[in-house]
Symmetry: C2
Subunit: 429 residues, 2 copies
Amino acid sequence: MEDQSILIKNTTIIGSDIKKSSLLIENDKIANIDENLNSKDADVVINGEGKILIPGLVNTHTHLPMTLLRGYADYYPLDTWLNEYIFPVEGKLEGEHAYAGALLACVEMIKSGTTTFNDMYFFMDQVARAVDESGMRGLISHGMLDFGDEEKRKSEYKESLRIIEKCHNTADGRIKVALGPHAPYTCSTDLLKWVRKKADHLKVRIHIHVSETEFEVQQVQESYGARPFEYLDKIGFLKEDVLAAHAVWLSDTEMDIIKDRDVKLSHNPVSNMKLASGTSPLVKMMKKGLNLSLGTDGAASNNNLDMLEEMKIAALQQKVVNLDPTVLKADEVFKMATMGGANALGLEQEIGTIEVGKKADIVLVDMKAPHLTPFRHPVSHLVYSARGADVDTVICNGQILMQEKELLVLDEKEVLSQAEESAKDLLAR
Amino acid sequence: MEDQSILIKNTTIIGSDIKKSSLLIENDKIANIDENLNSKDADVVINGEGKILIPGLVNTHTHLPMTLLRGYADYYPLDTWLNEYIFPVEGKLEGEHAYAGALLACVEMIKSGTTTFNDMYFFMDQVARAVDESGMRGLISHGMLDFGDEEKRKSEYKESLRIIEKCHNTADGRIKVALGPHAPYTCSTDLLKWVRKKADHLKVRIHIHVSETEFEVQQVQESYGARPFEYLDKIGFLKEDVLAAHAVWLSDTEMDIIKDRDVKLSHNPVSNMKLASGTSPLVKMMKKGLNLSLGTDGAASNNNLDMLEEMKIAALQQKVVNLDPTVLKADEVFKMATMGGANALGLEQEIGTIEVGKKADIVLVDMKAPHLTPFRHPVSHLVYSARGADVDTVICNGQILMQEKELLVLDEKEVLSQAEESAKDLLAR
């Protein structure tokens, strides 16, 4: 990337406190926050008046290429949905589909204020290519499943190592690779143990689905005589580098294990509601001090990647299931979607807050809209009133990806048209 | 209004079936639907390519001027929220605030695809003025409360009759007036009986809150020895012209009463979740064949008026509480937000569907967006993927209120700035 400085003037900065100020970006970092910063100091000046400045949102569980399956097969529970609809189509998926779907996902995420995501899918070098072109930051992993089959297991090892070798720490460090065992009920104990060993050895993180449905918890109990997190702990799998997505069906003992092992969680309320998987005991998890973040899951079970919507629905759901309007306040859910996400991906030193010295992953939200008027507590408005479409300007790693709602990095029309064609091709196979 | 014809060409029409066609509007009505309609036949031609055409959305429970209290007093249960925060501010509210807040609400509703709403508040002639200027269609009612006080009751009668006299059937018939007793726990039996008598006599409809919280049900049980709908039925209040908002806490007997009396219901999931009021047994209500519609409630407990968001959250909530992804399908919740709403307001002959002869209340939604790609079942995309900001063009009563996202009827900047000032003035009192 080229050296440049960007000054965002007179904006409302949502940092450790909320204040009217200006912010200077130099290269890929936040260099200064000061109300007296001068336009002469910067190559590019952005007027932040009437806007709020927040950290780029962090989506900690998604499957980018599944945008191609958006609206495909609504109305099935997770097991039918996966086995009868999603897996058969995914069996026909090739690299070109993964690339087209990932590009579409990147456009959608940028336009709704996400700068960093955590992805698990197939053909991840194609996904990495899309991410590189988009300017976003991503932790990607090849989704491994063996259903106990040794041949399949070996080929999953090979592909995982290939992706790490090829993509880890590429794109100016924006792309990192994790190991992605799909779930305890789709992966053998051998596979999970191999993942643990390789993660330690290669110092890469782990991304896994755990306890999304009650059915899956029963399956694990039948197979291993323990609940999923108990089983994973028993085989030595759980450490601070593990991000477990969903975590809907948890016992108290499992919450204590998660806390003890410093496992990170990704809460995915919209997908869990749409597939009727269940409701995470989030308030209890917060009380126990677990590391919580927020994710949309793939577009096929959401059906979008809008983190603003995800924040609102997360907050609403917890209020009503606890019959307590004071739980999961706007500030708390906003923290899950920013610093909680950074922490969940091991990026807490680099992103997640607006602080001098951190990476310049920054989003401006336009507050001059009828549904955001009158201007009050900006985080309340962001969570309860705003939508992804209010995002005005997006900067990742010091590069402007979108300015005043115009995408600068990718040709949006072309990406949409390619995705449309690619989806047709995939479903016609 | 002036005579004019509008042709919407080559669009995807969501009517009794879904088809690619063109639609002709003459004056205030849908005059023809035919793929061979010619541009020469119309004064105005709109290209509908890449868009879907739906009936204008119907928001069956809201309080327009409460947009001024958006984001004011989050995090309180309904009784504290009303008694300690909302009612004290509303005591200082004057006509100018109601007007500024209602204008803001109209801009917000138009921009998110709502053409008809059902409102209850104060200074309703000021609200009517805003509605008239906005070009929207509304059923409005003065919210009556007496808490058993006779003086207050008499002044509520007087104000209700004044609003009916002044505003009913004005603005080319777009504005109608209903009677608006607030709720069984805030209105005396005398007041409710008077409302029933006057509604019969004047042939106006009734808009009331019923059983929003469990606490309120207990209060009514203590006062009258019966649950709210049982009590209302006993005093002869319930007929087909009554719209009851919320209806969260219902017994089976009450559902049967609602069915027998053909009472209409407005389901308000976002507000009920945010205030932690509870979860309506909607699936059971659907099975009983109750008349269901959808409303956002006021912006102070939502915190927006986006009916697309309301549809998605309604569907998601019912799926997860029933642990069944097949309930409340996109088509069903879309029907609640259109024909269900028309039916709830007694406007089923005029609006709610795309049919020749009905009023031209029409919304075009732009489907060329990343979060709506690839194009699949348009109603699924509308409910699960779209947001208010995707609304492109809005026509009400044959008049174009917004075209290609540009508001034609009101000066948006001016409305926002007035609302901002008015909210400051109100809270400074």
